[in-house]
Amino acid sequence: MQNRLSALLDRYGPPLLGGVVILAVWQFVPTLFGVSKLLLPTPSSVIGSLWLLFDRGLLVENFVITLVEALVGFAAGSVSAIFIAFLVTRSLLVERMLMPYLVGFQALPKVALAPLIVVWVGIGVESKILIAAIISFFPVLINAIVGFSTVETEKLDLMRSLAASRWQQFRIVIFPNSLPFIFAGLNVGIVLSITGALVGEFIGADRGLGNLLLQLNLNMDISGMFAVLLVLAVLGIILYGLVRFLHVHFVFWAKPDIRSGSN
């Protein structure tokens, strides 16, 4: 009992203590130096705003909308990235046809497309999903291409010696072998997809956390904005945690250095 308690303290003590110190400094130091509470709200007022937003029913609905936009966009972007990577690595013709444009497009800051997409697709969730999809597409694409091309020749020789079809080679060896790389891309893509959904909401939306953030900004409700940032952090942690969970579940077999996705 004593041991378990000290183990718990050992594990959670330092981060908790750190948190308490940061919150205490944040709560009291700005007042000491005469920083306006309007510009830098104290933690206690942020908690108050959080409760207020929740009470007015603004939090849960907007949270779910942004979550769905990011998640659906991420899923669509990743699946199409893996599919395009498959085509590019399977066929030299497709590679030569597409690669120059993919590389060129990759160099473009994707958020610059957001205004255009909102004009084309409208201010509904669809435009946010599309922006999230485009922005998470590229890191997954690049990593999947590297993953599909990085296979030990002996593993392929094993398949070829059995006269395996190209699809069998892909399904049995190449695809599973590429998962550490693909997940390295997914880890980046999931975080970018939230950015994509938010940018879309900034440009034109009537719902979502980005929209809420803009409205609070117009009202100069800085404390409320901090509350939304807090919720966005939670959203990020949930989505990243989801990908991390799948990562560990499917890539249990990779050595830690590959698992962390060094590429």
Binding site: E154, D157, L158, R160, L162, I172, P176, L179, W253
Partner: protein, 262 residues
């Protein structure tokens, strides 16, 4: 057609590789070798003598630049499904259990799943991995993984087993045990085996016939029969014929400085 019982016939084979600078490098010249059905043949030679290349050509993974390779009188132009291949490393798929790894050939060849699984379990017993089917490759030792690779090579019941320095990465003790194990497996399954090795002892202990390769460019310097009675055991090493043949084989390599690595 081929003469009686002859299964693999390598005739006057040459293999060139093109280097990056555009020049050609001869890997093998005028290489001939014939292997009878159910024979155990070893290819011995120093590194870089083209013995692995020859094996890959017999497996249909590479094509000869000149000459002919026939199996059962049919020219080898691409991989055949009656060959089992064992590499220097186990080449396990780390995301699959040992059983699922052994089942890979069954999956590729679309064998009936229930019968295939039964056979895979039998093979695991044969190679001494009974009860390890549910483990993942990284939970097993190198020797155990290589046994699993042998079981996998036997999965689709191939006529021919091609082994490229299969025990090269193992320590000497494990290697000796694996040699005797392989003899037992071979006797139980009666396959035609071609095994590439650096080791003169390994070659003599295992084979009916040893082909000695010379390096750069590789060719068959001599083919000697090994008339030592079977079944063989660790004691075979002190057989007078064994000692005499070992001396003769070593003579081939002492001439060349590369022999130090053999």
């Amino acid at each position: 057609m081929t003469p009686t019982g002859m299964l693999i016939d390598v005739r006057q084979v040459r293999k060139q590789f093109r280097s990056r600078s555009g020049t050609y490098m001869e890997a093998l010249v005028n290489t001939s070798l014939s292997v009878d059905a159910k024979q155990f043949v070893c290819i011995v030679g120093p590194s870089g003598c083209g013995k692995s290349t020859l094996l890959r050509m017999i497996a249909g993974l590479e094509t000869a630049s000149a000459g002919a390779i026939n199996i059962d009188g049919v020219s080898v132009t691409s991989p055949r499904r009656d060959i089992g291949l064992v590499f220097q490393s186990p080449v396990m798929l780390p995301w699959r259990t040992i059983l699922k790894n052994v089942l890979v050939p069954a999956e590729v060849l679309k064998l009936e799943p229930v019968a295939a699984k039964r056979r895979a379990l039998e093979l695991l017993t044969l190679v001494g991995l009974d009860g390890f089917g549910d483990r993942y490759p990284d939970e097993l030792s190198g020797g155990m993984r290589q046994r699993a690779a042998i079981a996998r090579a036997l999965m689709h019941d191939p006529k021919i087993l091609l082994m490229d320095e299969p025990f090269g990465a193992l320590d000497a003790l494990t290697r000796e045990a694996m040699n005797l194990e392989l003899l037992r497996i071979w006797q139980a399954s009666t396959k035609t085996v071609i095994l590439v090795t650096h080791s003169i002892e390994e070659a003599l202990l295992l084979s009916d016939k040893v082909a000695v390769f010379a390096p750069r460019p590789g060719f068959v310097r001599e083919v000697i029969d090994v008339p030592i009675e079977r079944p063989r055991s660790a004691a075979t090493r002190s057989d007078p014929i064994f000692i005499q043949l070992a001396k003769r084989l070593r003579g081939h390599f002492e001439a060349a400085p590369v022999a130090a690595t053999a």
